[in-house]
Structure formats: C-alpha cells, structure tokens
Subunit: 397 residues, 2 copies
C-alpha cells in the first residue's frame, strides 16, 4: 500500500494539471508539454499502413498477444536495435507501454520499500514517480553539460546512497536538462560502476532526435559495449519516433531480467496493445520510420534554433543554459535565490507558460530552473513566448 | 521486490506457454484460450470508424491523453454505464489497460506484503497473479451454481482470512466457472458485507454476453445499488465487446479511490493508448457496440449449445457441469481422485486441449477440474474435440 499523500508526485500532478488547464487557453503560448506537436505525427504513413493491412493481420491486432510482445514487432525492433549495435542476440526484448512501464517494472522487480535508487537531478518525472510508487529512497545527483557529475555520484554512492539498487540515467537529450553525455563521461561512468552491484537503467527515448548528423556518434548507447562491464537495462520508446498515443516502448535486458519482467507485466496488463504493435511493426518494417525521423530532426532543430536565438536576444545575463544538440528541451538555470514559481506566475499573467524546475527534482526542492519545451510550440509563437518569459524574469530579478 | 520463483503464477505461465505452443499445431482442437476467435472481431466496423475519422481526431490518437482517459471516451463510457444504472454521477471513471490493470492498481493501493485477499476458487488467473505480485496472502472461497458459498465466505472471514483488505469477485459468467450469481446470492452477500471494512472488486468483463434476453436481468451489477452498502470497485473491459488487443478496460469507483488510482496509473504507463481509445469511443458513440454484441451473443450461445450437447452425449456420468447462461466457458468437475493433468496428457495425445483446473486455484492445488472455452473454437470442431476429451477421460477413469 502506497501512501500517495507522501509522494511529491501528488503535488506535481495537480500543478501539471493546473498548467495544462491554462495551456488550452488560446491566448497562452505554452512551452510546458513535453510532447510532439499534433501536426508532426505521421498520420499519412499510418493511414497507408492501416489500409494496406491484410484482414488476417488486422484481426491479430484485435487479439491478445504474447506478454513479451507481438512477435513480428519484436523481430523488426530487434533489427532496428541491431542496426544501432545493441546486443540483441545475447539480450531479450520486452515490449512495454512506453519506456515508463519498463522503468516501473524494473522498480517492481528490484525495489523494496526504503531501498535506495540514484537518479539524475533534474530527472524525468515519470522515472521518479515510478520509483516513489515502490517507496524507494531517491538520491538525485547533479548534471553538468557532459552528464552526471562523477565526483558527486561517487560521493553519493559512498554515503547517502550506499547500497543503491538502481542507477537511473537518461543520457541522450535529457528530459528536462537537454544535454547529451559525452563519450568520456560514459567511459568514466562504466569504469566506475564496473564490479559494483547496481543495475543501470539507460533510458533512451530521445536518442534519434539529434540535430546535426555529426552528433549521431554521441548517441551510441552504453549498452552497445559487449560484454557489458555493468548490467544495463536499456529502455526506449516509440513515443518520440511515432507517437505517445501508441503507448509502446521496450526493455532490452538479460534473459534472466526479461523473464522476471514478463511475469510482472503479465500481472499488470497481460500484454501491450496488439493493435498499435501491428502498426508500429509495419512502420519499422516498411522503412517509414527513418524518413519520418529525418523530417522531425530538421523541424526540431529549427525550433530549437529559433528558441535559442530568442533567448540570446531577450534573456538577462543571469539566465544560463546549454544549447541542446537534440531532443525537446532547453533548461534554464537562474541564480539560486530565484523561485521559478514566481516567474511562472508572472509569465502566465503575461501569456506564456513552462514547467518549473522543482517538478524534476526528485526531492521537489530545487527551483531556480525552468524547462522550456520547443517540441510542441508552433515556430511563429516561439519568439513571442520567450520574450514574455524574459520580461517576466526581468520583472522579478 | 517480488520473488517470482515463489509465485504459483510462474509455474502456470510455463504451463500455459506449453499449451499455447501445442495449440498452434493445426491438427489440435483447442478449448484452451479464453479469448474470442479472430474471425469474430468487428474489423469492418473499425475500418469504417478509422476511415471516417477527421485528421484532427486521428492526431489526438497519436498524442498522450490525460491519465484518467481520453475525455470523449470517458463521456461515451459514462453514458454506456449509465444505461446499466451504474452510479456514474457519484463515482469516477479511470480508463485502464484491460480490467486486469484496474485490479492490479487496486491491489497496489491497498495491499502490503502479507495482507489478506479473498477470491473465489476457482478464480481468474489475472486476478490471482495481480494480488500475488503484491505478495498478498490469498484465500480462495468455493463457488456453487449461484455464486460464492456464503457459509464458506463467512467461515473464511472469521478465520484464516480475518482482516482481509479485498474481496475479488467475478459474478457474471465467471472465468473459469461459467456461472452467474443469483439475485438472492448477491443480496445475501451485500447484507453480510455491510459495515465490514473490506473493498469489494466486482469484475464484470463478460456481463454483456448473456445467451437469452430473459437472463439480462441476472447481469445487473451489485454496484447499481445506491447508496452502496459496501464500497465497490466496479471493473469492466472492452476485451470481450470489441477486442482484447485494444487493451482497454475501466474502473468505476469513488472519487477518493479514483484519485489515488490515477496517481498509480500515472507512475505505471502515464495513460492508456489514446489511439485505441479514439476507436473505442467511436465504437460506442456510433452505436456499433450494441449490434455487434447481439451478434456475439447468438454465436456464443450456439457454440455453447453444441458443446453442451456433445458433453451430454459423450461424457461419462462422473463429469459434472453447470450449463452456462452466457460467457465463454464450461467448467467440468470430476471425482476428487482425478488429476486433470493426466486427462490433459491423454487428450493432447489424441488431439484436443483445454486448461487444467489448478491453474485457477489460488493455491495451485485443486485439480479435478477442466476449463473448456467454446469462444475460440470453430463450430464444426467442437463435437470432435469434446469426444476426444471424453474418450481421454474414460481411458483414465
């Protein structure tokens, strides 16, 4: 039994709900939602796929599928992951409801109430809420532009997070921090973790969304190193390369873990939607994913550039950020004494919203930060929205 | 952390997997799968719906939805449940991944390791595996043709199941027992539970599938009684009235419970598939569900009759069963000394399979029972399959 009243996530939920209710006002410019814009979804491609399906395949889509996933999708996903040099022959795949369900299942398998988990700080809110729902004791370790800060991680693992069962990282176009781990940081991390009894969850929902082809090399998962020096649960998602409404993600992990994860999933929802798995399989199998993602990269790169240019032009020098090389987010850090909630209030009154930093702090405290998502905002609104936030900030500085 | 090696469900999973691998042999007649036959799904209806959707609605299907569910679906589902006199104005709805996820969430909210749960014996395997995954201590209470046996329930609640947090029942065309609760039994049950601190989960995935219109009155949920004398979590599913591959079900419960259940779901998978929720909404909204279910009732009634006639003609007198008034299953009880596993072995060698009784015993023991599903088997194979099982049984008696 979980006492949700003690979860920070309850407060966050209501806060996010408030934000969302504001976001539907037509006069408000929103950088709040961490999702693609509706106009970016591959509707035409899925129309073609759906109307080209044999009736016998459609019928499979209405039926229960095996708990590990719809077999053709496992096959096409395996080839997709193989093309990224992921170890699909020595590891097994479980299809999940987004990468969130994969994280939740790993937490269910390994966390007893009070067990320690290390996350980044800031951290994807779904990750912290999954760990908290199993009553994990979370330590958040800060990031710099190259990834988790090694000294801070070491200090935490030798002190308050000693004996942690899970280290949860989202190294590629981090939500909300927008950064990507450097090659060197990944190597340092793996070298440090080697031989330690901790499970590394490498969560990778945004890796495909690099803006410049030369940055593709940065997105190589740690899981590609074979044999792995650390047991890695690699999680990914169709949410950003097809659509979150499909509720499809995956877990790539050792057969032992996948076997137990299957049992957990079986008791949760029996299987993921076969209907959307059929569509996702064809999306990969017919080669529609690649051109679609190429289109997305260009669009998001352009939106990021507009946002970054506007920030440079309008923001006071106290606001700092790392220019993202991919993904959905710019993460603004303000002086320690600034409360993002105040900025949000001011900004909302002027007509633009975002998500405040403490939403992403596992302890719900640190709040001199703002997450601006450019994924969801039409290009022609970005500059005006940034100006509003900059003015709100200047008014409160 | 759940030690799945101690779960009965692990054994069951592998047993069911074995059965399924046999079931795909073309020479085998299977009564094993508790699902509709692929040929029964409303493919034409969903084709019409999909191709009639506005692009803007399709795009919503690709997007995240609110955790409680896609608002238009909640609205159309509310009207559907209202038409059954369910208390939709004083209770809230949560859309889940099948009714299984609703059961899992209730277990997550209320069960600490070692807490007691009462189920029927036999019981839906998804229910027991959900409770076991939270390390519940389950007591199974036997059924007769009219429902749970009141004396046995009282005895359990005063003894080994004293202080149980949850009573899980599936009163309408029970899986696997095939029975439906009598009106009197439901009244006795509610009178007995009144004032006791226990949550009743009333799981109702099969209620629409009555065979004779005069039996519709039997399917009236206990949850329709207002004000309820007992806190009831009413769960249902689109799996049997649209297709399990949609992974859609619902929980109707008090606003307090739904509020906590939403938080749990948020940490599990954020929301159910918006894509399939859009389709399910239109299926209800366009009035396609009603004629489809009427068609199903006739088909399943015919299959049940063929199976029942074959059983009457072929089974030895030692085999007993209650003729179902709806649903998917005939549940055969054999003399106590018979091991269903032996019958299955013999029957499989002769060319027909089913699920053995202990799969549905929460303690995985009682095994002088067989579940024959008629939902999945073509009409022209039913008699031959029943004959094979009858012969296998006679050979082992």
């Amino acid at each position: 039994m979980v006492d949700f009243s003690k979860c920070v996530s309850e407060m966050r939920t209501s806060e996010i709900r408030d934000l969302m209710s504001v976001a539907i006002r037509p006069d408000i410019i929103t950088f709040a939602g961490g999702m693609p814009n509706n106009d970016l979804f591959p509707v035409k491609e899925i129309d073609e796929i759906y109307n080209g399906l044999d009736d016998s395949v459609k019928k499979e889509g209405f039926q229960y599928g095996p708990t590990p996933g719809y077999p053709p999708l496992i096959e096409s996903l395996r080839e997709y992951l193989r093309s990224k040099n992921l170890p699909v022959d020595t590891n097994d795949i479980l299809i999940t409801a987004g990468s969130l369900q994969a994280i939740n299942i790993i937490a269910k398998l390994f966390i007893n109430p009070g067990d320690k988990v290390i996350t980044e700080n800031p951290c994807f809110i779904g990750g912290t809420s999954a760990f908290k729902s199993y009553q994990a004791d979370i330590t958040g370790v800060p990031l710099d532009a190259d990834g988790i800060i090694m000294e801070e991680l070491k200090r935490a693992m030798e002190n308050e997070a000693k004996g942690a069962k899970i280290l949860y990282l989202s190294p590629y176009f981090h939500n909300p921090a927008g950064i990507i781990y450097s090659r060197q940081r990944k190597e340092q991390l793996l070298a440090y973790l080697k031989g330690k009894e901790i499970i590394l969850i490498e969560d990778d929902p945004y890796g495909e969304l690099y803006f410049n082809p030369e940055d593709e090399a940065l997105t190589v998962p740690m899981k590609t190193i074979q044999p792995e020096p650390v047991p890695i649960c690699y999680t990914g998602s169709f949410s950003k390369i097809l659509g979150p409404g499909m509720r499809l993600g995956w877990l790539l992990a050792s057969p032992e873990i996948i076997n137990k994860a299957q049992l957990a999933k079986q008791s949760m929802d029996a299987c993921s939607s076969t209907f959307t798995q059929v569509l996702a399989d064809q999306f990969l199998r017919q080669g529609k994913m690649k051109p679609y993602v190429e289109r997305l990269r260009k669009i998001y790169a352009r939106r990021m550039k507009i946002m970054n240019d506007s920030l440079l032009k309008n923001m006071p020098p106290e606001a700092k950020w790392v220019v993202p090389k991919g993904g959905f987010y710019i993460w603004i850090t303000l002086p320690e004494n600034i409360d993002a909630k105040e900025i949000l209030k001011e900004s909302m009154a002027r007509g633009a919203i975002f998500v405040i930093g403490k939403t992403f702090d596992p302890l719900g405290k640190k709040n001199n930060t703002l997450r601006l998502a450019f994924s969801h905002t039409p290009e022609n609104e970005i500059e005006r929205g940034v100006k509003i936030i900059a003015e709100a900030l200047k008014a409160r500085l």
